[in-house]
Amino acid sequence: MRVLTHSPVSMRLEKVLSKVILAVDDSASVRQMVKFTLSDAGYTVIEAVDGKDALTKLTGPVNMVITDLNMPNLDGIGLIRGVRANPACKGIPIVMLTTESQESRKQEGRQAGATGWIVKPFTTQQLLAVVKRLIG
């Protein structure tokens, strides 16, 4: 039985079963950095360019959402509300990307149901630490 867990089929399974993170930011470079860092750590990353786009990508299983706050069409706060209103996404961790000058927005995000936040600029290590803290 043990041997099975190392077979190529299982390796593929690991991939299928790896945790899915939805990264939402209108900045392509931030998305790229998030995707690069988290994929490297074994997570599957789905990208969305704004809140509206993100809501359409919540149909499959998603284990965590990382979202910027300032975005066109639907901003981060709106997205957080949208995710929390979706019964399929109950209780999944949502992390918002904030800047230091956005203390009031941070409060707003928390009230909307955000789990945590990462202050921009952040390093890849900080990002990984937060993701690990929330979904392991």
């Binding site: 039985m1 043990r2 041997v3 099975l4 867990t5 077979s7 089929v9 299982s10 593929r12 399974l13 690991e14 299928v16 079963l17 790896s18 945790k19 209108d26 900045s27 392509a28 470079s29 931030v30 790229q32 950095m33 690069f36 284990n63 965590m64 910027d68 300032n70 975005m71 066109p72 929390r84 109950k90 209780g91 999944i92 961790p93 949502i94 990307l97 800047t99 230091e100 000058s101 928390r110 149901g113 955000a114 789990t115 945590g116 936040w117 202050v119 921009k120 600029p121 952040f122 390093t123 290590q125 900080q126 803290r133 929330l134 392991g136």
Partner: protein, 672 residues
């Protein structure tokens, strides 16, 4: 990082185009909030991403512009031609800074200063806002540094914490990484079932953390929740920062013990056995009552049945605990044995004891004496060398026999180890061939050869000589241990000694079990090993591509389908359930048709016919009179791994005792 920087540069150029067009449109329709928002977002992203990828100058410059547009958004500032022109100039300046970053020309910093001064003038107020500070340096918690001290942490998450994606379990796990954590759960706030909202968090935790980490590191664990939870972190004893020696606690314990003579009475063991037997009967009858109550859908009968169930359960625990005795007395008795034997054999041997406070059922302890005497005798007689031989081998002249006991789930492990010469693998092998236990050409690993000394019939006929190692009556020991529903393992290191491990059940009478159903048959798994129960749908099976792997919250757990393992007939249902159990080999699942619930299990012996069926540790009688087999998860897993590990043919060739329990069980399951 390099390609991220390039990605940012490309993106920033696009954003500047966007900013420019927004500014030009804004010049046409000065009060359109949508356009202001577009410009703001472009600047915001340049600022945010710029800082992320190390362009602090661009980020700092964009910050001031962003602030201006934030004021515009909030209506604190009005759009003027001057502002638009200045912003366009600023956009050009950012473009120059981007070019400078790629090595094309240099940006004129004085130009930046001039733009910012003018901007400050236009905004009409001295710029009090700080530009964003550079990325904070990683402040790793000072792990293990500083003296270890106890912290008392009281933590009650907000009721809605679970909905916000907070997982208190992870927080506790993170604390555990900082140091030793003692956890006490406060369940007082849990309302009755009818009023309980399963999505609310009703629990609170009182924690004691012994760590050398800074208080800030502890607080940092709670950073996401500290604003809306009840949290206090205090040094456990402010007067004595270093962990006090546990002397205070010990003396407290000792005090009542001094006057304890009046509070204990001597009772004959027979009476206790009788009590446990009666409790066993009561548990069986209770199971019947429960079955009757479930059938008659009468709430009154059911309430009485549940009440009695609770009472029998605590009565059982109580009476079992009366029979539990520490192993100390048994262990201490062997000191004399070791001393006497040492003198007789002219060997210097010291007995060391560990875990003597481990408690076991009295009946188990009583029957443990003989096997242990046998094992110690073996060690001293054959395993341990003479002082001269030891010195020659570079070992201390005084040998050690180590007795250790420890809990492991519903079992107690007792180890007897020595630091003697170890088993002579070749001699054992030769002897096994001679006795017809294995064939001459059999390919066996060392561990397999070593375990041959436990095989029935191995060297019972005559005493082995010193050269052939030992093995005097090991199968007698094995039979004794198996009569206690225990098992035996031998490990040997040439030159370094032998360790024999006895795995014994805590009790012989009644255990907490989990009743499961496969087809028409019932099985009991010991609750002590069970971790959790998950569902297995056809979809999950498809997702695993035919492997027996269950996804337990993202972790892969291999499982054994009992229906297949026991070759039972019938179709498996669409939805199966998998019991996840902890074994020595890690976490394993058992797929069954249905998990029925916990069950107080009175263990009945299966009788001599089934002695070779290792995977079943006994049977129990259910409320309706049917018999359920009690499985030993440990053995099921190790036998399944054996079957998996090598083909049955190979085993046959090796001539090992047939251990294919599956056949035996299917054949013998019926007549019980």
């Amino acid at each position: 990082m390099i390609d991220h920087r390039q990605a940012f540069l490309d993106e920033a150029r696009e954003l500047l185009v966007e900013l420019e067009s927004a500014l030009l449109e804004l010049d046409q329709s000065r009060n359109d909030p949508e356009i202001v928002a577009r410009a703001f977002r472009a600047l915001h992203t340049i600022k945010g991403s710029g800082a992320m990828f190390g362009f602090e100058d661009i980020s700092g410059f964009a910050h001031h512009l962003e602030s201006a547009f934030d004021q515009l958004r909030k209506g604190q500032l009005t759009v003027t031609a001057d502002l638009i022109n200045l912003s366009l100039g600023a956009a050009d300046q950012i473009k120059k800074m981007l070019d400078a970053a790629t090595g094309q020309g240099a940006a004129d910093t004085s130009r930046s200063e001039a733009i910012l001064t003018e901007l400050r003038f236009l905004r009409g107020a001295p710029d009090a806002e700080r530009p964003p500070s550079p990325a904070p340096t990683e402040t790793a918690p000072a792990l293990g540094r500083g003296p270890v001290r106890d912290w008392r942490i009281r933590f009650r998450p907000a009721p809605g914490a679970l909905l916000n994606g907070t997982n208190p379990l992870r927080l506790l796990g993170e604390l555990r990484e900082l140091g030793e954590l003692r956890v006490h759960v406060d369940t007082a706030a849990i309302p009755s079932l009818s009023e309980m909202d399963p999505e609310r968090c009703y629990l609170a935790w009182d924690l004691v953390l012994a760590t050398g980490a800074e208080p800030a590191a502890i607080r940092d664990v709670f950073i996401f929740v500290e604003n809306d939870c009840e949290l206090s972190i205090q040094p456990a004893d402010p007067a004595a920062p270093v962990r006090p020696a546990p002397r205070a606690a010990a003396s407290e314990v000792r005090r009542p013990a001094a006057g304890a003579s009046t509070s204990s009475i001597r009772v004959s063991a027979d009476k206790l056995d009788q009590l446990v037997n009666l409790v066993g009967e009561l548990v069986t009858v209770q199971a019947r009552l429960g079955a009757v109550a479930a059938r008659r859908e009468d709430p009154e009968v059911r309430a009485v049945s549940e009440e009695i169930d609770r009472l029998t359960s605590s009565l059982r625990e109580n009476s079992m605990s009366i029979r539990m005795l520490p192993l100390r007395a048994t262990f201490e008795r062997f000191r004399r044995l070791v001393h006497d034997l040492g003198a007789e054999l002219h060997k210097h041997v010291e007995l060391t004891v560990e875990g003597a406070d481990t408690e076991l059922d009295k009946t188990v302890i009583d029957q443990l004496n003989d096997p242990l005497v046998h094992l110690i005798r073996n060690s001293m007689d054959h395993g341990i060398e003479t002082p001269e031989a030891r010195l020659a081998a570079g070992k201390p002249a005084t040998a050690t026999v180590h007795l250790a006991a420890q809990h492991s789930g519903a079992n107690v492990l007792i180890r007897v180890s020595d630091d003697g010469r170890g088993l002579d693998v070749e001699a054992v092998r030769a002897r096994a061939i001679e006795q017809g236990l294995i064939q001459a050409g059999a390919q066996l690993s060392e561990a397999e050869i070593v375990s041959l000394i436990l095989a029935p019939g191995f060297s019972t006929a005559r005493e082995v000589t010193d050269v052939s190692g030992r093995g005097v009556g090991m199968d007698v020991v094995r039979r004794n241990v198996e009569a206690l529903r225990g098992s035996l393992e031998v490990a040997s290191k040439p030159g370094a000694g032998v360790t024999v491990t006895l795995r014994l059940p805590l009790t012989l009478a009644i255990i907490d079990g989990l009743l499961v159903r496969v087809g028409e048959d019932y099985f009991v798994l010991p609750l002590a090993n069970s971790l959790e129960c998950v569902e297995l749908t056809g979809q999950d099976i498809d997702a695993a591509h035919g492997n027996h792997l269950a996804n337990v919250r993202g972790q892969l757990v291999p499982y054994i389908r009992l229906r297949e393992y026991f070759r039972m007939e019938g179709e498996r249902p669409e939805r199966e359930q998998v019991m996840v159990v902890e074994t020595d080999q890690g976490r394993y699942g058992f797929a069954v048709d249905q998990v029925l619930g916990d069950h107080q299990t009175v263990i009945k012996n299966l009788g001599r016919l089934y002695r070779n069926v290792h995977v079943v540790s006994g049977a129990t009688i259910l409320g309706d009179g049917t018999v359920a087999l009690i499985l030993d998860p440990q053995r099921v897993v190790s036998e399944a791994m054996q079957i998996q590990g090598k083909g049955a043919a190979q085993r046959h060739e090796a001539g090992l005792p047939a251990k294919d329990a599956r056949n035996q069980i299917t054949a013998e399951r019926q007549p019980i």
